[in-house]
Symmetry: C2
Subunit: 359 residues, 2 copies
């Protein structure tokens, strides 16, 4: 493939005439997101530290009895900073510093909840199947150095921070987990949620490092009804699905969903194979960024760049959630009791599916 | 809005340069669908009777122990033929005749399974909330005139036919259902599946006419693992979701999913209101067609037109299903027992969600 394109949106905007572009964007993205203006401090910091900023607003209808409930969501996507061969302490320090720069911009953008990408303090090294030095970077969700730093930021910037890390839980026999730590704007660690469904596909040898989480599906602090999905995924494997899964979740469950992906190509010192009959290599493809927010009405923001570090700010009005619930009524028309019963039957040993055959 | 655009794909192809178009299509649609050549009889019939034909192939990798298992799926989308003020018998006869023309083309295209759009024998009149004359067109799934005609076609053309109708079930006290009748290529009625989740949104006043089905989730005849979703939906309401829901279902469940939507604007004699504070009107928007097939790897075919009747032929190799299951492993890594348990809990009276609050 030639050079990576910057983003789907940039290609559409460059080539499609305005009269048709509006309709193309409506079909692809829905119509809700509008541009949001940010203070100049944000763009100054972004320009100084070379990252992209995009900002959108997803509004809701006016109500008589409830004021708007606006929340600014910040998503950060980034490349690793140092080569994977650098001492791991330096790699982590560099990532801490880099995200600190972008978090400061998020503060000036008045972000209320900031979420980083999956296992943001390390390269996504699970393709290598090498434990060292990567497991050295696993740390306590409660008081590891990354959590302590995030607590400082959360207090200083008065924002909730979701910090997805490779967790080492020494209280449970040193198990490793892929864990999002949720830190209140007061700096308190509210809790954590571990990845429940661990892929075992291609170079995503994650299950070699950590197992399925046991936290279930938790909701934190307030009924914000926003689901954050910090990811790390590469073009050949998943890019055509990228705009589908978070949006479908937002539609089917009537909430806002935030999808975050890392950026860039991470090259490792030692070569590894991918179980696909091809020669050994030192990277497993381009992480295509493209982080975005999906609304419960099926609309979405444009995505961040496929190639650059970035901050996506999205101001959402949470009133939209109940408005869409009242409009679509999935929470009442969905056959959840039927689904629960059928799913329970289907996961029971000895289950026979209901297949109708010709006589 | 100006004139309806013909399709998203046609706009992209007209304006985006070839080098970038390939990458745009990969991101939007995945890369699996290739053009499929059809016999000249098909295009002759399509040209004579003025409908679009598109044909694609979704292949799979070669295996040593299993031959390819190819199935040709045919989807038909169409406008109503006569004005909604015509006598209902004539309206239905005209639709029977129209679909007969397209079904003949499907035969020449060697289609194995042919599916029509939702309630294909009537205008989608549920917006009007008027029962007459529409409920007159409700008919028996087992031996109504439409089923009898479809049985003839199924035998004559040696194809399985899925015929979604407004069903009147006299054996159950004259209840009406939104029912897909499945007819074997031998002409036998294999069975039926009724719509389980009935929308109550906007002008889709369907629940005024029929209630939730009780057939559960059946599989017919063979483990073809194809899910057909005959729909009728309009632009303003759902178009940004159209490319999401069937594809998400195909990805999450590892099967092929076929999404069919009707075409055109249906105008009714008597005006009706839409509960949105706007004046009464006689139509509820443009049905945007765009029928397509989604594969379990997240790819999809291009869609049929947004404005014309059409036949979409898709040759799929069912071997792709197990290949993707073996690759992605969702059937093993998914936490289905956890989901069944949590969904059961959530649908039990007195359920309290697991919300973690700040101390």
């Amino acid at each position: 493939m030639a050079q990576e394109i910057a983003s789907l949106e940039s290609v559409l905007e460059e080539h499609i005439p305005n009269d048709k572009l509006k309709e193309v964007k409506r079909i692809l993205f829905g119509t809700r997101a509008k541009d949001l203006e940010l203070p100049s401090e944000v763009t100054d910091i972004a320009s100084k530290h070379d990252f992209e900023v995009k900002a959108f607003q997803m509004d809701a209808g006016k109500e008589q009895l409830r004021p708007p409930r606006t929340v600014r969501i910040g998503l950060i996507q980034n490349k690793i900073v140092l080569p994977t061969s650098a001492p791991v302490q330096e790699q982590r320090d560099a990532l801490h510093q880099r995200i600190g720069q972008i978090a400061e911009a998020a503060y000036h953008a008045k972000v209320n909840i900031l979420c980083f990408q999956e296992t943001w303090t390390i390269p996504f090294a699970f393709c290598t199947r090498e434990k060292l030095p990567w497991v050295e970077l696993a740390e306590s969700a409660e008081d590891g150095p990354t959590t302590v730093l995030c607590q400082e930021w959360a207090k200083k910037y008065n924002m909730v921070i979701i910090s997805p890390i490779l967790e080492r839980d020494s209280s449970r026999g040193d198990i490793l987990q892929n864990t999002a730590v949720v830190i209140s704007n007061t700096g308190q660690v509210l809790g954590k949620s571990s990845k429940n469904h661990i892929p075992r596909v291609g170079d995503f040898n994650e299950s070699t490092y950590y197992f399925e989480g046991s936290t279930g599906h938790r909701v934190f602090e307030t009924q914000f009804e926003i689901v954050f999905n910090p990811s790390a995924t590469v073009g050949g494997l998943s890019e055509p699905m990228w705009s589908i899964e978070a949006r479908n979740a937002a539609i089917a469950n009537t909430y806002f969903a935030a999808a975050i992906n890392r950026v860039g190509t991470e090259v490792f010192e030692n070569e590894f194979t991918s179980g696909d009959g091809k020669p050994a290599h030192k990277d497993f493809g381009h992480f295509y960024g493209s982080s975005y927010v999906a609304a419960p009405d099926g609309s979405r923001t444009p995505g961040l760049s496929r190639t650059r570090d970035g901050l996506l700010v999205t101001e959402v009005n949470l009133n939209l959630i109940r408005q869409i619930k009242d409009k679509w009524c999935f929470q009442m028309t969905g056959r959840y009791d039927m689904y629960a019963r059928e799913l329970t039957e289907a996961t029971t040993p000895g289950f026979q599916p209901n297949i109708i055959k010709e006589n």
